[in-house]
């Protein structure tokens, strides 16, 4: 009897762990663009979630109005958000580099407010559903643990993306140019690196990944006009707790946050996100450069 209870508790825990990892992976893809702009380029972009929302709504529209299959929508969601990011970076954000954090905060809050009101106007305030294809639905029993198929799908895709990003940042010419540009923009310019192009491309890819995350996450996170504000603090936590010296820290922080959030909501639903905020404050006060940052 006891053993039975114990096994049930263990399997519930394993399911939570699994869901938490999937959630964390999703958070990583959503937030990694911010990890670069905020963490590396030092730009406080509170509007990052708006790009994720754009990806989500593009998917909804394409599936509902044009009947495109879910998988085909994902690359389009990426491209649409990336394009939006590129245009905004070239026209607006570019004026904000090097401004005071207060200016950047005001500016990006303004963008969020506009995005929220715009989507509300265009799409209505009710939450949107994305109808997953049948083969991605349901759960399967693996060694007694309930494993969601869609969540496995997310883990595979997001895990692959994380790996690709790390390789791109560390092994490609673009990666080394970006690191040089972030390290010292003036020196990089002197070396003939087109710094503003590098920043624009980085911003676009980051926005695109957020858009992809928004499309993938609509099912799990929910999608409504308030999405950018609801998840703003989560993205910021990933970046500040993860630290700013690469994407390994934010990746670890995403996983921690994902598991902690899912477990918290399961075991202590009344507390909500209380613990997470508390942990964030503690980390920020004790280690202002993030949990995983190398001391400078």
């Amino acid at each position: 009897m006891l053993l039975h209870l114990y096994l049930r508790a263990m399997s519930a825990m394993a399911t939570i762990l699994f869901d938490g990892v999937a959630y964390g992976m999703l958070l990583f893809v959503l937030a990694c663009g911010l990890a670069v702009t905020l963490g590396l380029m030092n730009f406080v972009n509170l509007a990052h979630g708006a790009f994720a929302m754009a990806g989500g709504y593009v998917t909804v529209v394409l599936m509902d109005r044009f009947g495109l299959p879910f998988l085909a929508c994902l690359p389009i969601a990426f491209a649409a958000a990336a394009l939006l990011g590129l245009v905004l970076e070239r026209t607006l954000y570019v004026h904000m580099y090097g401004r005071s954090p207060l200016d950047q905060v005001l500016f990006s809050i303004g963008l969020v407010f506009m995005a929220v009101a715009f989507v509300d106007w265009a799409m209505g305030s009710s939450p949107q559903n994305i109808k997953l294809p049948a083969w991605l639905q349901g759960r399967r029993d693996v060694f007694g643990v309930q494993v969601g198929i869609y969540r496995s799908f997310i883990i595979v895709i997001c895990g692959g993306l994380a790996l690709a990003l790390q390789l791109a940042l560390m092994r490609t010419r673009f990666g080394s140019r970006l690191r040089a540009a972030v390290d010292d923009a003036r020196v990089a310019r002197g070396l003939g690196i087109p710094v503003s192009t590098v920043f624009a491309v980085t911003f676009a890819v980051g926005s695109g990944l957020a858009g992809l995350g928004g499309a993938l996450g609509a099912e799990i996170l929910g999608l409504d006009p308030n999405f950018p504000l609801r998840f703003m603090i989560y993205f910021l936590i990933v970046v500040t707790v993860g630290g700013t010296s690469g994407i390994v820290g934010p990746f670890a922080a995403s996983l921690l946050l994902g598991v902690a959030d899912v477990a918290g909501k399961y075991y202590l639903p009344a507390l909500g996100a209380f613990m997470i905020y508390l942990v964030m404050i503690a980390v920020l006060v004790l280690r202002p450069h993030g949990l995983f940052a190398r001391p400078r």
Partner: protein, 323 residues
């Protein structure tokens, strides 16, 4: 008198627009009823923005969670009125006192780190308090808000009327007294040391200013101001809901202060007037999407610059009034 002494006296002198402003604000009490509710709202928002001005405009602490103290003051006053006594002044004092304690406790968190860390920490504190209120529906009323707040008469003889005349007089007088206090403070050596810290903490320290102690003091003080504003809201609307802690409230007050001009004693009041008039005007034709225009205003503020935009805005208001 010496040049220095004269200059220091001149620096603290009352200027006539200040006097006119307060006379006008009190003269509004003689108007026929109809606008008192919105005037009351302006007075409360102005006090809240004045509080933010103390830390942001004077001391340079960027906060994204100033609603934390507003909310604490609101719930304290609301709960006191619901469960203990409906005396407004008791609620105002207790609301301010509890907010002061919370402000002092959290002031230690904003001493360290960069502007970004401060942003996150202040935001986090407001979020934590919001979650606590949410997790205690028995106390806070949860999603329905705190119902059944009934206020007794002000000073034992002025009942809160339906039109909000008493409410406005009450909020305005509170705002006036706190502005006097803030005026005193910013013109004092303490206030000057805050201005020095905002501009260059290293240099201020090298002139003997104990930077951390001053930041703790002003953060705590601002929390008391914000708590008072929250208490006023709870008392004059007889209602408190979870949204007192929400991000948009912190963002709005930041916007109000930026519109009116930070680092200037009347920035909060000017911002509150303009913001509320704008909101009222825009809401008249598109109530739902007011947020869009506020967002646009923020973006324009930062991109175009405050000076140029405010000039345009005043011109626009004048134009709208002439029509």
């Amino acid at each position: 008198m010496d040049a220095a002494a004269l200059g220091l006296v001149r620096r603290a002198r009352w200027r006539w627009p200040e006097v006119v402003l307060w006379l006008l604000a009190y003269a509004a009490l003689l108007m026929p009823p109809g606008k008192f509710l919105i005037l009351n709202e302006i007075a409360i928002l102005a006090l809240f923005a004045l509080s933010l001005d103390l830390i942001l405009g004077y001391a340079g602490i960027v906060s994204l969670g100033h609603a934390a103290f507003f909310g604490v003051g609101a719930y304290t006053a609301g709960l006191l009125a619901k469960h203990v006594t409906g005396d407004p002044l008791a609620g105002l004092l207790l609301g301010a006192a509890v907010a002061t304690v919370v402000g002092f406790a959290t002031s230690l968190l904003v001493l360290r780190g960069s502007d970004l860390t401060r942003l996150m920490v202040t935001l986090g504190v407001a979020m934590v308090l919001g979650e606590i209120a949410n997790a205690l529906p028995g106390l806070s009323g949860g999603a329905d808000g705190l119902q059944g707040v009934t206020m007794g008469p002000l000073l034992g003889c002025f009942d809160f009327d339906l039109f909000g005349r008493t409410a406005y007089a009450y909020s305005l007088t509170t705002l006036f007294l706190f502005t006097l206090l803030a005026r005193r403070i910013v013109l004092s050596p303490f206030g000057l040391s805050l201005m020095a810290i905002r501009r260059n903490p290293l240099r201020a320290g090298a002139l003997g200013v104990p930077v951390n102690a001053r930041l703790i003091a002003v953060y705590t003080l601002a929390a008391a101001f914000a708590g008072t504003a929250g208490a006023l809201l709870a008392q004059t609307t007889a209602f408190v809901s979870l949204d007192v802690f929400e991000f948009h409230r912190s963002a709005d007050v930041l916007l109000v202060l930026i519109i009116g001009g930070a680092g200037w004693l009347y920035g909060g009041i000017a911002g509150a007037v303009i913001y509320t008039l704008l909101q009222d005007g825009i809401a008249a034709f598109t109530p739902q999407y007011w947020q869009f225009w506020i967002g646009l205003l923020l973006v324009a503020f930062v991109l175009v610059g405050r000076q140029r935009l405010v000039g345009g805005l005043y011109a626009m208001l004048g134009w709208a009034r002439r029509r």
